[in-house]
Structures are given as C-alpha cells and as structure tokens.
C-alpha cells in the first residue's frame, strides 16, 4: 500500500499517490490538450490541403493521416493498459488501475476510427467495404477485447476487485490477442499493404510529401491519447475520492 510505505518525493512513484497525481495532472493537462489539438489540426490540414494525390490511389491517400495514427494508438492503448495492469497487480497503485480503466474507451474509439477509415479506404481500393483481411480482422478482434474489458469494469461493484479482475483479463487477453493475430494470418493471407512506417527497420514505404504530415498526425494522436487519459484518470480519481469521503461520513455517524 502506497500510504504505508515511504516513497522518495523525487521518485516517479510519488505520482502514484492519487491526490498528488491530481495536482500534476492539472498542471500538465492544458499544455497536453493545446499541443494535441494543435498538432492534429496542423497535421490533418497539411495532409488534407497540402499534399498531392497518389498516382495509384488518387485522393484516397489522404485517409492515411487518420487511419495510420488511429491504428497505431489502438494498439498502443492496449499496450499501455497492459503495463498499467501489471503495475497495479504488482505494486497496487490505484492511479495505475484507474489509468488503465480510463484508457479503454479511448482505445475503443481509436480502433473504431481505424476500422471505419480502413473500410472506407478499402472500398475503392479493393472494391469492397469489408474484406476478411488479417489486419482488419485483427482489429475487429481487438475491438471485441476492448468491449469485454470495459463491460467487466462496469459489471463488478467493488472497485478494487474490478481492478484486479480486469487486470488479469488484460493480461490473458493480450496473450490471446497475439495468438488471434497469428491465427488470423494463417487463416487468410490478406490484401492489406505492408506497414507504412516500419519503425524497426528505419525504412519506409511512403514518399516524403506524405510522410511528414503523417508523422505530425501520429504525434498529435499520441498527445491526444495522453491528454485524454490524464483527464479521464483525474475524473476517475475524483469520483473515487468523492465516494471515499462519503463512505467516511457514513462511518462517523
């Protein structure tokens, strides 16, 4: 329990104290929101108005500025939830559990955007709205995992038990999500093009004109994710604090 243990005030874990997190969050939130909206605004405007059409894909290439960052954040949100769940299970920091809870709806929306833009993009390119392409299918499965995770949070009344159960679900779900990814790849080889920005290899398959606004959009989506998670975590903390204050008031009577 954080309250029982001495924590170096300079340590990053000191922000695991919910009330201290609230003050930090209040300080950084305006900056995060401004930076996120600015970079998404500039990135999307640059991409939409300032880049040429692709020779093969025509103007549909402009969808890349939504599709790729959303897809990236859909996966990263789950990964962040996985890390936060592990921190909760190991160190029992409430902020961590609540941050995982706060990130889930953001992940859902990112997954939805990736799916919708993917379907709209696929229509002219592949001639169909929906193809059981491995990547699209994997995102659909990820979407189902997000729904189950959120539903479990909603269904369990005791907040600590809910945090425990959802953390284990997140861990087990991650393993099965990876398994599903390979199963789906085995099941259908797919139409989807290779990844646009293979970070690991350093190479890339998109031309510079498309690349720079795309990077700006990815940064913007990442900042927006962080801003949303900070705000939503603060919301969860405030609700828990209000409930704790009321529970104490009842106890005193």
């Amino acid at each position: 329990m954080p309250s029982g243990r001495y924590i170096d005030p300079m340590s990053i874990w000191s922000y695991a104290n919910p009330v201290k997190f609230l003050t930090l969050s209040a300080r950084v939130q305006p900056v995060l929101w401004a930076a996120a909206l600015l970079s998404i605004g500039i990135g999307l405007a640059w991409g939409f108005f300032g880049t040429p059409d692709d020779a093969r894909q025509g103007s549909t290439v402009k969808i890349i500025y939504l599709h790729v960052p959303a897809a990236l954040m859909a996966i990263n949100a789950w990964f962040m939830m996985l890390v936060a769940s592990l921190i909760w299970l190991i160190r029992r920091h409430h902020v961590s559990a609540l941050a995982a809870k706060a990130a889930a709806p953001v992940g859902v929306v990112m997954t939805l955007i990736a799916l919708v833009t993917g379907a709209i993009w696929g229509q002219p390119m592949w001639g169909t709205w929906w193809a059981w392409d491995p990547r699209l299918t994997s995102f659909l499965i990820l979407f189902l995992f997000y729904l189950g995770y959120i539903a479990l949070w909603e269904a369990v009344e005791d907040p600590d038990t809910a945090a425990d159960l959802t953390s284990v679900l997140c861990l087990v779900g991650s393993v099965f999500a990876v398994l599903s990814r390979y199963a789906v790849q085995f099941w259908n080889q797919g139409l989807h093009q290779g990844t646009s920005v293979p970070v690991a290899t350093g190479g890339r398959t998109v031309a510079d004109v498309f690349f720079y606004p795309l990077v700006l959009c990815m940064v913007g989506f990442a900042l927006l994710f962080v801003a949303l998670v900070f705000t939503r975590t603060s919301t969860e903390i405030r609700l828990r604090r209000a409930a704790a204050l009321r529970a104490r008031a009842v106890r005193e009577v």
Partner: protein, 218 residues
Amino acid sequence: MKALLLRDLRLALRAGGGFGLALAFFLIVIVLVPFAIGPDPELLRAVAPGVLWLGALLACLLSLDRLLALDFEDGTLELLATAPLPLEGALTIKALAHWLTTGLPLVIVSSVLGVMLGLPSAGYLWVVVSLGLGTPALSVIGTFGAALTVGVKRGGLLMSLLVLPLYVPTLIFGAEAARRGALGLDATTPLLMLAGITCGVVACMPFASAAVLRMGLR
C-alpha cells in the same frame, strides 16, 4: 480430486443438471442452418465443418453458465477454497467434468449430425479429431470466463462477451483443420496448432482462473 469429479458428473447427470441441454442446443442449431442458408446440398457440404464447429462452440458456451455459478450460490466454492485441494486443481477438475459432460458428447454427436449437412465422407474423421482436440481448450478457457464473472449478478451475457474473443484462435485452427480435412487437403498444420493451443491453455489457464476466482470470492 476424484471425489470432486465424480460429484460433478453425478450432479450433471441428475435431473436439473443440464446434461443434454447443450446437446439439444447443438442439434437445434444444426437443424436451423439449412433453414437459414437454404437446402442446396453443395452449399451445405461446403459450410458443414465450420457450422459443426460453431454449433459445438456455442453449445459449450451455453453450458458454462452453470459451471461455477451454482457452486457459488450455495457456498460450495467458498468451502472448496478453504479445503486442502488447491483451487487450481479443483478448477481443472471442474473443467474436465464440463468437458466430459459437454465437449465429449458434442464430439460424438457431431459425426452423426455431419450426415444431415452432407459432410463429405473424408471429413468425418477430421471433424471428430479437431473437435476432440479443441473442445478441451473451450472448456478450460470457459472456466476462466466463469471464474471472472462468478460474483457478478446476471453474469451470463457478460461471460459470453468475455469468452467469445478468447475462443477465436481455437475456432480458427479447429475449423480450418476440419475444413481442410473435408476438402481432402493436408490438415496437419492447423491440427498441430490446435493441439498446441489446447496443451498451452490446459497448462496455464487454471492458474489464471484460480487467481481470478480468489479475487472474486474475496
């Protein structure tokens, strides 16, 4: 352990135990399929392995509801948690009992129901083998879902939502093996993958299930 297995089997077979419900559900799903997609024998033949797999999966899911919920309501789970039997072992046994009363009969019946869908004769062996390898994984994964939702009121629907995505890899490899087998193609790779999933799941999931059940009982 043997006592728990025998008790679960006896309970399932007694009146109100729900044995046969899953089988009847499976039968009805298979009967409804031609109504839904038409009586064309070619079409039915093509979808038969997949439909058998999907029907078995849904029948399995349907019966998960009773796996832990009844024992939770009458306090048996709390008493088991204080018994010398480790909870991991108890849950493995309960999954085994679930498989013996649901999965195994489904495997046997599937070969008969294949006739109704015009399953090609080459496919029977593969449908039965893939279901036989895959249904234990369904029972074990389902036990995890049941343990997750044990304290939740009206948790049945929630459990389906949690368990179905976890069933995806098993379904894909199982149905793929049955489909390839029915088409006379080589089904070794998906069967091996399916067996791998079943082994991994049987080895690891009981620990997650027991951990989750302890949290739920608290």
